[in-house]
C-alpha cells in the first residue's frame, strides 16, 4: 500500500497508518513526528525524512527509512526493527529494551542512552558510521556497536562515552587510542566470541545496507563494559 503523506499532520498520518492491515510505503514524508508509535506489526517503509520520536515504544513492527531520521528514534522501544538508510539525530534508542536499530550512517549525541536488557531480551543498535558524544550514557544493558565506516573526519565516538554505564556493552571497530573513557568502565580487545555473538545482527546489517561482512569483521574491535553494576554503592550513609 503506497500512501502519500505530504502535508498531513502526525495525528492524521498515524491514524491512517493504523487503519491499514497491509505493509505500507509512505512517500513525501517531511518531519512528521511519532510515526508508528507503539506499533506491533506491519512493515513500514518511509521515503523522505521522518520527524522526531520515530517508532517510539515500538512493539514489534519494522520501520525502514530511505533517508535520514531525526531525534529520539526508537525511544523506549520494546521490540521490532528500525532500519535507517542514512544518518540519525540525537538520543536514538533512549531506554530501548528490545529489538534492533540499524543505522547506515552516523548517529548524533547520546545514542543508546539508558539502554536496558532483561534475561534473553537484549536490544542491539549498530551504527555503521560514527557516533556523537555521550554514547551509551547510563547504559544498563544491551549492545551498541559502532563500525566507523563513514568518511567524515570525526572520531568514531565523540566526548564522554559510557558516562554512568552500569550494564551491557559497547563494541567499537578500529583504533580507539584517542578515545578517553571514564574510570567506571573497562575497555579491552574484543574476543572472537564477542564478534561471533553479533554475527546474526551483523549479517542482517550487511544484507540491508549491502556491505561485505568479511571486510567489517576483518578489523580490530574493542569491547567496553562497566566495572560495576552498582555504581552508587558506598556513596551513601544512612541518616
Amino acid at each position: 500500500m503506497l500512501f502519500d503523506v505530504k502535508g498531513l499532520d502526525h495525528k492524521t498520518l498515524n491514524q491512517k497508518v493504523r487503519s491499514f492491515d497491509t505493509n505500507i510505503t509512505i512517500s513525501g514524508c517531511c518531519g512528521q513526528r511519532f510515526i508508528a508509535a507503539g506499533m506491533k506489526d506491519k512493515h513500514i517503509t518511509i521515503n523522505g525524512i521522518p520527524g522526531n520520536a520515530l517508532g517510539a515504544y515500538l512493539d514489534g513492527a519494522t520501520i525502514e527509512v530511505n533517508g535520514n531520521a531525526q531525534d529520539a528514534v526508537g525511544d523506549t522501544m520494546n521490540d521490532g526493527k528500525i532500519i535507517i538508510h542514512g544518518s540519525i539525530g540525537d538520543a536514538a534508542g533512549y531506554a530501548m529494551r528490545g529489538g534492533k536499530i540499524y543505522i547506515q550512517g552516523d548517529a548524533g549525541y547520546r545514542a543508546g542512552i539508558h539502554m536496558k536488557a532483561y534475561k534473553d531480551k537484549i536490544p542491539v543498535m549498530i551504527i555503521g558510521g560514527k557516533a556523537g558524544s555521550f554514547l551509551g550514557e547510563y547504559q544498563a544493558g544491551g549492545i551498541i556497536m559502532v563500525l566507523g565506516m563513514s568518511h567524515t573526519e570525526r572520531r568514531i565516538v565523540g566526548n564522554f562515552p559510557c558516562t554512568g554505564m552500569h550494564g551491557g556493552k559497547i563494541i567499537l571497530r578500529g583504533n580507539i587510542d584517542h578515545i578517553t573513557f571514564p574510570k567506571n568502565v573497562c575497555a579491552k580487545s574484543a574476543t572472537e566470541e564477542d564478534i561471533e555473538s553479533l554475527r546474526p545482527e551483523l549479517t542482517e546489517f550487511c544484507e540491508v545496507f549491502g556491505c561485505d561482512i568479511k571486510k567489517i569483521i576483518n578489523s580490530e574491535f574493542t569491547v567496553v563494559t562497566p566495572d560495576s553494576k552498582n555504581p552508587y554503592e558506598q556513596m551513601y550513609v544512612a541518616n
Binding site: K11, R33, A37, T76, H114, K116, P231, V237
Partner: protein, 501 residues
C-alpha cells in the same frame, strides 16, 4: 567505638515484671534488636539497631515494651543541634552522602495549619450531609473553555479524555521496589473499591495488577523502567515524572540489593543491578521537548488517556506550570517539599523546593491570569495529612490531591523513616518475603477504604458548613479561606485575606 561512637537514638524499655520471654519481639524485629539470653532466661536488647518502628511494642502480648528517645544528650546549642552534630560524625566516619527517608522533618511553616475555613451563619444556610446529597465526584482532564455547537445547533459533547474520581483524592506514586507487592496490592484494591486511582510509580506494573488498570496511573520517569506498549495501555492515565517534592532536581537510585525476583522482572533490568533514574529526562530540555514526550505517549495510546506531568514545587513553579499547560498535558501534578520518599539525600530533601500551599496558590493564579486554567487539571501532593488539608487545597485551586504518607500510615507505617534499609518490619518498604507477608493486603485495603470514607465524610461536613454541596463549587473559592498569623506577602501569594478581614 571511641571516636566513631554515636550514642543510640532510642532506648528499649522492657518491663521485666510483664515480660514473659515469649520472644515475639525477637522474631518480629528485622533489625535484630532483641535476643534471648538462654543462660539467664531473659530478653536482651541492642538499642544501637533500633529504629523505633514500634513493631515489637505493637506485638508484645503483655505490653512489656516501650521505646523512648534517649536522653543521653550532646551539649547542644541553638546553632549546633543534636542531629546537626551527629550528621557530621556520620559523614566523618564514612565519607558518605547522607541518605534519609520520608518527608522533610524540619520545622518549616505548614501553611495548612495557618489557614482557616469559613462556615455559614444566618445569611446562607449550611447543609447537613446526612440529610442532603453532597457531590464529591471530580473529573480530571482538559475542560472546554466555551460551549461549541455543530451546524444543527446541537452542543458538541466530545470532551478530551477525563479521569472520574469519586472523591478528590488519589494515591500518589510509590514504585514496586520501593514498596512491597502487598503494599501495591492494598493500594490497587482500595483504589478500585473507592472509585479513585493509585499510581504505579516508576518501577513498572506487576502482571498481577494489570486487572486494576481502570484505577491505575502508570508512570513514565527518566529511567523508563518497565515502560512498554502494554503497560501504557494498561493504565487509565499516564504520568510523566519530571520531579518529586522530596528530591527536586535529582533522580533516583534503587540499590541493586532491592532489584530481586519480581522487582527485576517488572522493571526489566537484571537482578542485582542498580536501577538508576537520571536527574533529567535526557530528551527533555524545553517545554517543546516535553510536548514531544506528551504527544508520543498520546500517539502510542490513541489519544484515549489523559497525560499527567508531575513536577516538584520549586521557585519558578508558576512559569513552569504555564509551560506544562501549553505542552498538551491534561493534568499537572505538583509535589511540595514536605512530600515523602523511600530515599533521598538529606541535604536535598531538607533544603530544596517550596511548600505546596504557596506553589498551588501561585500556579492556580497564574493559569487563571493567562486564561489557560481549563487547559489542565491541577493535582497537589507533598504532605496532605487530613480532610481539612484537602478542603483547603481545593479552595486554593486544586482539582484533587495526591496522598502517599497518609496512605502508608493506614497500612501500618509508623514513620520510623528508615525505608532505605529495606528492613521494614511492617512489610511496606521491603522486598524480604518474610517481612512482606506481614502486610495482609485485604486488611490493608480495608484500612485504606476506612480512612478515605472517613475523610469523605469530613469533606462533606466541611463543605456543608460552608453551604456548598458540590466540590466543584469549592474549587478556587478562596473567599472560603482566611489566614492566621501570616505576613502580608504570604497572604498575597496565597490570595486570601487575614482572619477578621
Amino acid at each position: 567505638m571511641g571516636i566513631e561512637f554515636i550514642y543510640p537514638e532510642f532506648e528499649v524499655i522492657r518491663n521485666d515484671k510483664r515480660c514473659i520471654a515469649c520472644r515475639v519481639c525477637e522474631r518480629q524485629c528485622a533489625n535484630e534488636v532483641h535476643s534471648y539470653d538462654e543462660d539467664n532466661k531473659i530478653m536482651l536488647s541492642d538499642e544501637t539497631k533500633c529504629v523505633n518502628c514500634q513493631r515489637c511494642v505493637a506485638l508484645c502480648p503483655t505490653r512489656a515494651l516501650k521505646i523512648i528517645k534517649s536522653d543521653c544528650q550532646l551539649r547542644e546549642n541553638a546553632n549546633w543541634q543534636d542531629d546537626t552534630i551527629k550528621e557530621i560524625y556520620k559523614q566523618a566516619n564514612s565519607g558518605g552522602v547522607l541518605l534519609s527517608s520520608m518527608g522533610n522533618p524540619k520545622p518549616m511553616p505548614v501553611y495548612w495549619d495557618k489557614i482557616l475555613i469559613n462556615a455559614s451563619q444566618v445569611t446562607n444556610p449550611s447543609i447537613d450531609p446526612l440529610r442532603e446529597p453532597m457531590e464529591t465526584k471530580v473529573f480530571l482532564g482538559k475542560k472546554p473553555s466555551q460551549v461549541e455547537k455543530d451546524e444543527n445547533g446541537q452542543i458538541i459533547c466530545q470532551l478530551e479524555p477525563q479521569l472520574e474520581l469519586s472523591m478528590p483524592v488519589m494515591f500518589s506514586a510509590m514504585s514496586y521496589g520501593s514498596i512491597s507487592y502487598n503494599a501495591h496490592k492494598s493500594l490497587a484494591t482500595a483504589a478500585r473499591h473507592l472509585g479513585v486511582l493509585y499510581n504505579t510509580g516508576e518501577g513498572g506494573l506487576h502482571e498481577d495488577f494489570y486487572c486494576y488498570g481502570e484505577n491505575t496511573i502508570v508512570q513514565v520517569a527518566s529511567g523508563r523502567f518497565g515502560v512498554h506498549k502494554d503497560y501504557l495501555e494498561a493504565g487509565a492515565a499516564i504520568e510523566i515524572k519530571m520531579g518529586q517534592g522530596a528530591k527536586p532536581g535529582i533522580g533516583g537510585h534503587l540499590p541493586g540489593t532491592k532489584i530481586v525476583g519480581d522487582v527485576s522482572r517488572t522493571r526489566m533490568i537484571p537482578e542485582g543491578s542498580d536501577a538508576i533514574s537520571p536527574a533529567p529526562h535526557h530528551d527533555i530540555y524545553s517545554i517543546e521537548d516535553l510536548r514531544q514526550l506528551v504527544y508520543s505517549l498520546k500517539e502510542a495510546t490513541g489519544y484515549k488517556k489523559p497525560i499527567i506531568v508531575k513536577v516538584a514545587a520549586v521557585h519558578n513553579i508558576a512559569a513552569i506550570a504555564s509551560g506544562i499547560a501549553r505542552s498538551g498535558a491534561d493534568i499537572i501534578a505538583i509535589d511540595g517539599f514536605r512530600g515523602g520518599t523511600g530515599a533521598a539525600p538529606t541535604r536535598i530533601r531538607d533544603n530544596v523546593g517550596i511548600p505546596i500551599e504557596l506553589a498551588l496558590a501561585s500556579v492556580d493564579k497564574r493559569l487563571r491570569d493567562e486564561g489557560i486554567r481549563n487547559n489542565v487539571s491541577i493535582v497537589v501532593g507533598g504532605s496532605i495529612r487530613n480532610a481539612a488539608d484537602i478542603v483547603k487545597a481545593i479552595a486554593l485551586g486544586a482539582d484533587a490531591c495526591y496522598i502517599a504518607t497518609a496512605a502508608l500510615l493506614a497500612l501500618g507505617c509508623h514513620l520510623c523513616r528508615t525505608c532505605q534499609s529495606g528492613r521494614c518490619n511492617w512489610g511496606i518498604a521491603t522486598q524480604r518475603p518474610e517481612l512482606v507477608k506481614r502486610l495482609n493486603p485485604e486488611i490493608g485495603c480495608e484500612r485504606l477504604v476506612n480512612l478515605m470514607n472517613a475523610w469523605r465524610h469530613e469533606i462533606k461536613e466541611l463543605m456543608g458548613g460552608m453551604g456548598i454541596n458540590s466540590i466543584e463549587a469549592l474549587r478556587g473559592n478562596r473567599l472560603m479561606l482566611r489566614g492566621i498569623g501570616l505576613t502580608d506577602k504570604e497572604l498575597e501569594i496565597l490570595g486570601i485575606s487575614h482572619a477578621g478581614e
